[in-house]
């Protein structure tokens, strides 16, 4: 076995030197990204915190009524968000909300076109699969280090890590939705003279919409599950008190902050989830 271990393949140092190289020669790119994203998120948080909590709670309650016409969901939304205010985690919740919002937004903006392209091009789908697998399975801490080096401490490396972790869901579910558009509907579109563009927007995307919406809720949930990890690289939000509680073995604080994350997760999930019975005919 000696021959096998004699010369170690320097995989790790290759990646390390790649990161060093990037950091040395292209650091202005990453700093620019970091500054821009940081600026946007910080101001969003400022705006959310500046608004009175009741305004935001009313907004969520309004969403619940408008999208689901359910008093039960509305009451749950209002009461659980009031509980967060009461516990004193409102500002942290708003910071987390902003980060989840931007992470999800960026995931969807990149993920949907990528999923559509992959559904139409088998080679791209083949190429994407191992990459997406890698992004989902590689331990988060592993890419937390390089993102930390490239983007510096703060909310942005947390955001980037969150995107890396969550983007597979919208890509995959969009691809699935587009690829499983019934052949009869595609043919109906073609036989009435769709251009490829019309076929995409008038047939494929509407048909894939339930799947894409499932991708959206998945993406939100995955982003929320990254909140604590993001806190490790300096992102504000509900992750911070959890990490602090862990370091100081503070059961009370850990439980309260954790509960706030769970409440936010359930509220966002229930509001974004579409009823299956709605107009899909399936």
């Amino acid at each position: 076995m000696e021959w096998l271990t004699e010369t170690k393949i320097p995989l790790g140092s290759w990646i390390a030197s790649l990161m060093d190289g990037l950091n040395e020669h292209a650091d202005f790119v990453f700093y620019a990204i970091s500054d821009a994203l940081g600026f946007v998120i910080d101001h969003t948080v400022d705006a959310l915190v500046w608004l009175h909590p009741l305004v935001i709670i009313a907004f969520f309650a309004g969403l619940a009524i408008w999208l689901h016409k359910s008093w039960k969901l509305t009451a749950f939304t209002v009461l659980s968000l009031l509980l967060i205010v009461n516990l004193g985690y409102w500002e942290a919740t708003m910071e987390t909300l902003a980060m989840v919002f931007y992470a999800t937004l960026i995931c969807m903006v990149i993920g949907i076109p990528l999923g559509v392209a992959a559904a139409h091009r088998p080679w791209l789908s083949h190429a994407l699969r191992p990459v997406l697998d890698l992004m989902q399975t590689i331990p988060t801490f592993v890419y937390l280090i390089p993102t930390l080096i490239l983007f510096g401490l703060g909310v942005v490396p947390g955001l980037i890590s969150t995107i890396i972790f969550s983007i597979a869901a919208p890509v995959r579910l969009t691809q699935l939705g587009i690829a499983s558009t019934p052949k009869a509907l595609i043919e109906a579109g073609q036989s009435f003279g769709c251009t490829p563009r019309q076929l995409l927007f008038k047939v494929e995307l509407p048909s894939a919409m339930p799947s894409i919406m499932a991708g959206l809720t998945q993406c939100i949930m995955l982003s929320l599950s990254m909140v604590v990890i993001s806190a490790l690289v300096g992102a504000d939000g509900l992750g911070k008190p959890v990490v602090r509680a862990l370091n100081t073995v503070n059961i009370a604080q850990g439980f309260e902050a954790g509960l706030a994350i769970v409440i936010l997760a359930i509220v966002l999930d229930r509001i974004c989830r579409r009823d299956n019975s709605e107009n899909t005919g399936q």
Partner: protein, 393 residues
Amino acid sequence: MTNAVEFDNIDVIFGDRQADALALLDQGKNRSEIQEATNNILGVADVSFNVPQGEICVLMGLSGSGKSSLLRCVNGLNKVSRGSLRVRHGDENDVTDVTTCNAQTLRTLRREHVAMVFQQFALLPWRTVAENVGFGLELRGMNAKQRDEVVREKLALVGLDEWASKYAHELSGGMQQRVGLARAFATDAPILLMDEPFSALDPLIRNRLQDELLDLQDKLNKTILFVSHDLDEAMKLGNSIAIMEGGYVVQHGTPEDIALRPANDYVADFVAHMNPVNILRGRAIMQRATKEQRNGSGNFAIEDEDIQITVENGVIKSAQSGENGALKLINYDGTLPAHLDATDNSIIFVADDTVLLKNLVEMREITQNPVILTREGRLSGTLGRREFFASLT
């Protein structure tokens, strides 16, 4: 009459070894041999016939006979491997060859000239009935206001004006296919492709929609290519029928041609399973009058029956039965006289020789006497017991 669609030596191969498969086809190999050698599927082989404007042509055959494959070539859903397929629209010289035209021309053809109705309706489930009907117009870029007008008109045509704002899944199967029809009518395309449109419906609804289609056809006068696996349906709807087997058209002709002169055992087998009374006309089964009887004068007996008829210059003057004496002549004008619902063997019917067997059988049932057939008022032939039995067995 000008042809709306011309199939000219059409071959369709599914697969990526077109040239090899076509070479094998030219050597006379059949579908399974071609599949074994090239792994490609023979869809349609050497089809040539024309569909005149305003006619309903039914493509008929078992599943896998290539009828749908052929239909889908007309609007380019299937690619023709060899041959030429010309679609004429509007003007005499306004012809598109689907096999060679570019994507833009094909799209125009699909938007303006050829519409399609699908077996499983293929309505877009996230759109209302009205939005589905307006789909083709929307693709064409028509504005919402004009679209609304057309949609309302077409929905009224198929009797669904009340349902405009419902979703497809809220409608029954028959209604869904009416939406499919309205969607196809909405573009005002002169050519309609119908791919087993009524096969998914139960027999009662199917029958009603067939009648509605024929009524609409009287009004709209489209050229319709209709795929069916049901010979009764084909006979009912078709001005002409093309029977397909293994990708080939084995017989193309009028419903009567098919029923009375099946080209091979395959066609004969279909015909054996159909109900002839709705298709056959008197002239196809009658005992033909001789030339002297048609134009001359005198008495002659109807074979196998105890009845004599008297003719003057080809016009029927009277009929006598050996049993009942002189018979009363009644001209059949499309409906049976209302008071004649019971058996009455003192009368004899005189009908045009294009009347359907179905009606002739009813006459026979009332009178128990033969039916005398005329063409342009002159004797054409007679239908006795023997002819009835021969036609029905």
